[in-house]
Amino acid sequence: MLYKRMEFIEWRRFENESLLLNLQTGKYFRINEVGSLIWEKLDGANEAEDIIKIIVKHFAVSEATARQDYNKFTEQLLNDNLISMSDPGQP
């Protein structure tokens, strides 16, 4: 599954955290280091498996933990309308 950040989300990295701002609603989201890494990779081109591998390597966690973090976080982002599913056929 490929995910892509919504265009109306403005974001900034602050050392180990990130702040996401929904330009349509003015609502904020503060995300931690793991979330920040996932968020940066959600460009519609990175496969879930590739991102999970990066989490394992970067944070020295098991693949199961990384997968759990990835699934939970992307589900939350979808619920908050911060990302959408990306169609691989579209640019």
Binding site: E10, F14, G26
Partner: protein, 313 residues
């Protein structure tokens, strides 16, 4: 219909007001916070403000101090409404023009009318010039500014007067405009301070004994302290203030400061400006140390704490 007009100068900009009601011009003039004496810079831009005053005889109930806004993507305009819609302000970004409709019943809110009709719409339009409004007091020590940001009622005016009394220079008690010029600077907003009767009484030793009154009154600090009022300074620190039982100054992480300041600094309605505001504030909070300041009325101690974080020459 007869039209009345007046040009109000805010920073380096002229706000050319036309209206069908002479009393409104008098109210705006009476409650205008900006000094004309300090204007030594050339005009950089001009905005138009057309205000129509109407009688709405159907409105009999009390007005609620409610503020709403909505951005119209098709017209590229922002609609602001105050007091249950008794004041409606439409800001057209493309035309650099403000149109307002004001019900006469709102004239009882004399002090606030200037804020709703002049300051807030101006703050929105002047973003085009990369001036960013912040709801903050500003004091200066050794040539560098300390911003005291906070919502209404948090003590901005009290702290501004306390520090003025302790020897600091004064820029504003309520509103400043940030801009970048090889560093973060502020331009002064309200040269005149807005004081409640209680605050005035607290500083009667420097301001003179007040008479009792309701609401807020303006005092021209530039006239009272001619050598202590400035209009521009480079920013050294920012504190988000709140009254408390004990004094405490705590350094904030940039991410925490951005979150807190975003709502104090900008009206985020226009998507392009919201994006720009976010970037600007992020850069600001990385460059300028931001603190949370819990304060008491022990102003000597407060001065000591704040002087410690200010750079020395």
């Amino acid at each position: 219909m007869k039209q009345y007009q007046k040009t109000f100068r805010i920073l380096d900009f002229d706000l050319f007001v036309t209206t069908n009601n002479r009393e409104l011009i008098e109210i705006l003039d009476e409650n205008f916070l900006y000094s004309e004496k300090k204007l030594d810079t050339p005009q950089r831009g001009r905005f138009r403000l057309e205000i129509e005053v109407v009688n709405n005889l159907e409105r009999v109930r009390e007005l609620h101090n409610q503020f709403n806004y909505a951005y119209d993507h098709i017209q590229d305009a922002l609609l602001l409404t105050y007091l249950d819609g008794a004041i409606r302000v439409e800001i057209s970004y493309a035309e650099r023009k403000i149109k307002a409709q004001v019900e006469k019943i709102t004239f009882r809110y004399r002090a606030a009318l200037g804020n709703w009709l002049l300051t807030l719409p101006f703050a929105e339009l002047v973003k085009e010039y990369h001036y960013y409004f912040m709801h903050s007091a500003a004091l200066v020590k050794e040539g560098r500014a300390l911003l005291l940001a906070g919502k209404s009622g948090q003590g901005k005016t009290t702290l501004a007067l306390a520090l003025l009394k302790m020897g600091w220079h004064y820029i504003s008690d309520d509103e400043v405009y940030l801009f970048v010029d090889n560093g973060f600077y502020i331009r002064g907003g309200s040269i005149k301070a807005k004081l409640t009767s209680r605050t005035w009484e607290m500083f009667s030793d420097i301001l003179g004994a007040p008479e009792k009154y309701r609401g807020k009154r303006l005092i021209d600090l530039e006239s009272a302290f001619p050598d202590r009022v400035l209009t521009k300074a480079r920013v050294a620190n920012l504190c988000i203030i709140a009254p408390a039982q004990t004094i405490r100054l705590e350094r904030l992480k940039p991410i925490e400061a951005v979150k807190e300041l975003f709502s104090l600094a900008f009206l985020n309605a226009h998507p392009n400006y919201t994006r720009e505001n976010f970037g600007f504030l992020t850069d600001f909070c990385y460059s300028v140390p931001c603190y949370r300041l819990n304060f008491t009325t022990d102003f000597v101690e407060l001065d000591r704490h704040l002087t410690e974080i200010m750079p020395t020459k």
